[in-house]
Symmetry: C2
Amino acid sequence: MRSFSEECLEACGMLRENARVVSDSLVKANLRGVDSHGVTRLGIYVKRLKMGLVNPNPEVRVVQESPATLLVDGDNGPGQVVGLRALELGLEKVRRGGGVSVGVKHSNHFGTGAYYVQRAVEADVISFAYSNAPPSMAPWGGVEPYVGTNPYAYGVPAGRHEPIIFDMATSVVARGKIILAAKKGELIPEGWAIDKEGRPTTDAQAALEGCVLPFGGPKGYAISLMIDIMSGVLTGAGFGPRVRNLYEDFEDSQNVGAFFHLLDVERFMPVEEFKGRIDRMIDEIKAVRRARGVEEIFVPGEIEHRIEQQRLASGIPLGAETVAELREVGLLCGVELEDFVHES
Amino acid sequence: MRSFSEECLEACGMLRENARVVSDSLVKANLRGVDSHGVTRLGIYVKRLKMGLVNPNPEVRVVQESPATLLVDGDNGPGQVVGLRALELGLEKVRRGGGVSVGVKHSNHFGTGAYYVQRAVEADVISFAYSNAPPSMAPWGGVEPYVGTNPYAYGVPAGRHEPIIFDMATSVVARGKIILAAKKGELIPEGWAIDKEGRPTTDAQAALEGCVLPFGGPKGYAISLMIDIMSGVLTGAGFGPRVRNLYEDFEDSQNVGAFFHLLDVERFMPVEEFKGRIDRMIDEIKAVRRARGVEEIFVPGEIEHRIEQQRLASGIPLGAETVAELREVGLLCGVELEDFVHES
């Protein structure tokens, strides 16, 4: 999957090193069970690259710098290429100052936040990563989309245990799940979305014409808003409706913004002591008495890590729909699919 | 109310300047309509001070420092005295480096996060403020408390508009509301809490023996956990059950931790440009089409600001129960209550 995805992206003009980053992000998402952000995104990336809406090989530049901040212009590059470069610039800097905040403008679809915070964790750095996204949720009380399902991720190094990796959308549920339900003519659970009049709905089609709901009601709206402020308003990227839709707007570049906070653990306590404390916390959490029917209590990222171990051993299951998509992408790019896909 | 509260705290050995900070935080909470964090807390503060569990006049010290980080030891002082001093140290530093992360250990009850982020906003600084708290929520799937209803706040300067001030607990609802329902023998809405077997409950007493639920389900649990990691694990403060209960543990000091991220807007764009963009965002949000029955769409902090304007003009309504509490506190401290309270 990696090489197929790389070859497709190279066929769209991306340098090998850039194609490798995007492919790595997609395949890692599939490995972790986050299939919504895996190779199913390859098709739209290829489409936008071919339409000239994304710069395949951006010159990612620092446009403003202070001891603890960086503002990075992504030159309309692929989100993962820009994001990873911005993160690396931050990681180079974090040892000197102890903490860095990195703002990113003129980028594209961010991919999973987990991808970035995992990198930071490997360097014993605590990190927060977030990005804005095109409008799909209304401000609380409204019925028109204004903020995106803006993802929020954090990563924390551990010792004996796997690192804590949290990555969420600020919506109750990914919009993709509602699209899927509408395609299949299925109802959606109450609490996922409102129709265009602001009424709770279980009709997937009505939900698509309305808005996805933020997780946790008005609190989730406020967190999504914070992400748009940091990633969009503060960086000079798009915010609110100025962030263009990946799937619907083929006139403009997306102008996605992103934001990273990085923190050097050593500036607070020796990293081994910190990891020991995190391990103790994880041990204690996993030992908490469980509700009836619950077999195990998890810390963020633990389930995804287990799926990754399974999938590394036995492969990534792809649905027929994704295989068909990939076949089409391969045709467009002149890349053979057959050699690694075995339909299940 | 300010002078009454100050005099009570001075009677417990606090210096005037420290008493003033705590009183200011309490009265500001009442003014903003957040009565759960207002003068109703005075009684427990006085009790803990009189028992010697809180150091009335701490020597707040920086124990570790780098260009973009500070680790502050609160010397077991009142949360607001320690927190405000830590914030001020951060604000002095933020102009030089562009961003500062401040960890705080050995502190006590944090008060409202809004109190701190409002100060930062006055200095045109974007801020995040959070604190851990004694366990009251179970990790997702568990039935024993491990994390607190850890508050999370952020503040963003605006131009024509009031600043955006967001301040939430990471629980669906404050535990205090369930205590109140239990006292009155009222039912609580489903979704607020689970009983000690992990079953959803509407019985307030059963809820108190169980756990408050995090806002937004497992996502809220993960955010509460992040706050405990940053405020507790990383700073060297208590975390999980090591944070002592304000109302129940009279053996130990609380060892609350707190964390601030401060960011100098100017390192990203001219502050006036930023404020213009925030104003535009607020205008756009308020103009979003509203759901039926919704009269106005708000940004975080706007409702509280309006209540503050009303209460500054017409006074703070205090319930009979709070007045009785205050009367008792006054008796304990030898301070007359009558001169400012008019029972409604």
